[in-house]
Structure formats: structure tokens, C-alpha cells
């Protein structure tokens, strides 16, 4: 069990619920990044059968050192539990001077669970803009689509190109739409992806000490007073690509996931569910 100081806090969890990802810039030290790059070059990275406890994977390797960093253990434990299951890994390569980018997609197949997997994306070398970087669309994780169904969408307001320094980690909800952007340099681009499944019920796995007793009480809506940086505020923020009407449903999706993760079944944001649940006998 990792020390609580390394777990995510409630603001970070709310960001994950709202946007479907968390970003940790330059989290992994240079010596591990360099060792992982050597292992990639030697084709020495070996995964494990699907369903293997993560603690049994990558023994003695640089990737194991990366996964054993307290901050990495803390974010994994907060999202999918202390010893999640290895699903699969992949070294994603974008070749130099590619003609086009990968199509936008969600990984695997359409997935109706409230439980979620995470995908760790690890960037072991610097990724400048001209090298592409993984493209991700914040807040797309609740959309029910099947893999490349969304490849027709070339650009969306608010999309993020992962331009980062070596050692940066992304933790993605499994439903996030993403793709490999075009690499316009003469160097290969690498990204290591690791999908993890929870092995425990995802219930208050992060450090919840910062949740005030009244954090879920109903607030005055349609006022600036709601902008206090708390959980309700974070879950109410729209992404720039949200349609006017569906954007409201996205906030309902977030409320439902937050209730699932906390057990706080009366939690609400801007009265979106409280209004519907008011059914006097």
C-alpha cells in the first residue's frame, strides 16, 4: 500500500472524471527514460498474458522501475487499485515524414461499463509539435462509439496535441478519443502504452481526506458563486467542442461516475439530476 501522500487528491480525480485524463509532465527521471529507450531499441520489452497482476510484470526492467516510482504507484492505485491487471501493452511508433495522421478513435470496442480501465501513455523522449504527439480530445470518454467510427472527425475545438518533455505520463480513461498525429520530422517517434484493468471495486481509492462534509450539498445554480474550484465546479466545466444540448448530458455522465466512485448517491452538479429525481409520492 503506497503512502497517502502519493495518491491523487479529489480535485485531480474530479479532473479525471470530467476530462477523462490526467497529465504528469516530466514525472519519470532521465535515467529511466534512457534505459527504456535502450530496451525499445533492443526489442527487449516483454508483456504478459492478459489478466496478469501488474506486480508480476516487467521484473527487473527499466519499465518496472518506472512503474515502481511512488508517484506512478499512487496514480495507478487511485484510479484502478493497488495491483490492477495487465491487459496489454504496445510500443506505438510514428514513422518519419508520414503522409498522414492516424484516424481519431477510441481503443478496444464499445464499452458500456461505469467501471473503467486506464491507459498509461509514457513518452520516454521529448516530443516537439512537429513530431506530432498523441492527439487527445478531452471529455470524449463517455461517448458511446466503436473504435474508428469517429475517424471522420479531423479537428475539434479543444483538442490537445501531446507536446512534452521526456518522462511525461498520461493516464487516460479507456474511452478517450485519440490518435497518433503526423510525424513531420526525420526521426521515429515512440510512445509506450499500457492498459490496466481494475481488480477491485473503484470506490474511494484516492486520498479523500480533502472532501469537506458539505462538498456535495446543492448550490445556487446559474451564478458565478458556483466557480469555487471545488468538485462540483470542476465537473460543471464544458469542453470547447461540446454541443449546446449534449454538453448538458456530459455533465450528467460525470455526476453518475462521481457517484459510482464515491458512493455519494445524492451528489449533484447544478441540480441536473436532483431535478429529475424529485418525484413526490
Amino acid at each position: 500500500m503506497i503512502d497517502k501522500q502519493h495518491l491523487l487528491n479529489s480535485q485531480q480525480m474530479a479532473e479525471f472524471v470530467a476530462r477523462g485524463f490526467l497529465r504528469f509532465d516530466e514525472l519519470v527521471p532521465a535515467e529511466i527514460n534512457e534505459a527504456v529507450m535502450r530496451d525499445i531499441d533492443r526489442q527487449a520489452i516483454k508483456g504478459a498474458p492478459a489478466g496478469t497482476p501488474l506486480s508480476q510484470c516487467y521484473a527487473g526492467t527499466a519499465l518496472r522501475h518506472m512503474l515502481d516510482l511512488p508517484a506512478v504507484q499512487g496514480l495507478i492505485q487511485s484510479l484502478v487499485g493497488e495491483d490492477p491487471l495487465f491487459d496489454h501493452d504496445a510500443i506505438h511508433v510514428r514513422e518519419p515524414n508520414e503522409g498522414k495522421a492516424q484516424g481519431l478513435h477510441a481503443d478496444s470496442i464499445i464499452d458500456l461499463r461505469t467501471h473503467f480501465d486506464i491507459q498509461l501513455m509514457y513518452f520516454p523522449h521529448d516530443v516537439p509539435l512537429e513530431m506530432g504527439g498523441t492527439l487527445l480530445l478531452p471529455g470524449s470518454h463517455f461517448r458511446r462509439v466503436n473504435e474508428m467510427d469517429v475517424a471522420a472527425y479531423q479537428n475539434m475545438r479543444g483538442q490537445i496535441a501531446m507536446v512534452c518533455k521526456a518522462g511525461t505520463l498520461l493516464a487516460l480513461h479507456h474511452g478517450i478519443w485519440h490518435c497518433g498525429r503526423q510525424n513531420k520530422t526525420d526521426r521515429r517517434r515512440y510512445m509506450f502504452k499500457l492498459r490496466l484493468n481494475p481488480a477491485v471495486r473503484q470506490l474511494r481509492l484516492w486520498n479523500t481526506q480533502d472532501l469537506e462534509p458539505d462538498y456535495q450539498s446543492q448550490r445556487e445554480i446559474y451564478t458565478r458563486n458556483a466557480r469555487d474550484g471545488g468538485v462540483q465546479d470542476i465537473l460543471s466545466r464544458r469542453e470547447p467542442w461540446f454541443e449546446a444540448a449534449s454538453g448538458r448530458l456530459e455533465i450528467v455522465n460525470r455526476i453518475k461516475l462521481w457517484r459510482f466512485l464515491t458512493g455519494d448517491n445524492e451528489f449533484d452538479v447544478h441540480y441536473w439530476l436532483g431535478r429529475l429525481e424529485n418525484k413526490p409520492a
Binding site: V145, N155, Q159, Q182, A245, V252
Partner: protein, 93 residues
């Protein structure tokens, strides 16, 4: 002799109204002059769908409004308001 090639632009708008804000966009150029791909721009070509009409794009298709399937009223999926436009260009080839 004229050699006509099609350019196709899809704009994903904020509502079912053609003059609402552009949220997403895709373009395919049959003339071969431009090659668009995923993630190649953070700036939409037009602020609204109507702006595309004013710039000479012809509307080919507009989204049909379909009530939510029973039981799926609160789920979200594809962008709902995709408007498809074309321009015809004479490449002179």
C-alpha cells in the same frame, strides 16, 4: 475542356441551426492541392456554418433530427450536427 473536381467540407456545429458555432471540421480535397489529416489545425475554417455558405460552399446535407431511442435519452455518442458542403473546382487538367 473543364475538369471538375470536388472539395468536401464537413462542419460539426453547436446546434441544429446552420448559423451556430463550428465545433469540429474535416476537409477532403479532390483537386489534390491540399492534404488534410487528423489534428492538422486548431483553428476552424469558419466561425459558423453560415459563414461557409457566404464563402461559396454549397450545402449538400444537413443533419436529420431523430428523437433519442427509448432508454438512451441520456447517453452521448457521435456529433449530432454535421453539415456537409462542397465546392466544385476546375483543375484545368
Amino acid at each position: 475542356m473543364a475538369t471538375i473536381r470536388q472539395q468536401v467540407l464537413t462542419l460539426y456545429l453547436a446546434t441544429s441551426a446552420l448559423d451556430s458555432r463550428v465545433l469540429g471540421w474535416s476537409m477532403y480535397d479532390g483537386t489534390g492541392d491540399q492534404a488534410h489529416t487528423t489534428g492538422d489545425s486548431d483553428t476552424p475554417p469558419y466561425e459558423t456554418g453560415l459563414d461557409a455558405l457566404r464563402d461559396g460552399w454549397r450545402l449538400l446535407q444537413l443533419p436529420v433530427l431523430i428523437p433519442p431511442y427509448p432508454g438512451e435519452e441520456y447517453s452521448t455518442s457521435f456529433m449530432k450536427y454535421g453539415f456537409v458542403f462542397e465546392k466544385l473546382e476546375d483543375t484545368g487538367a
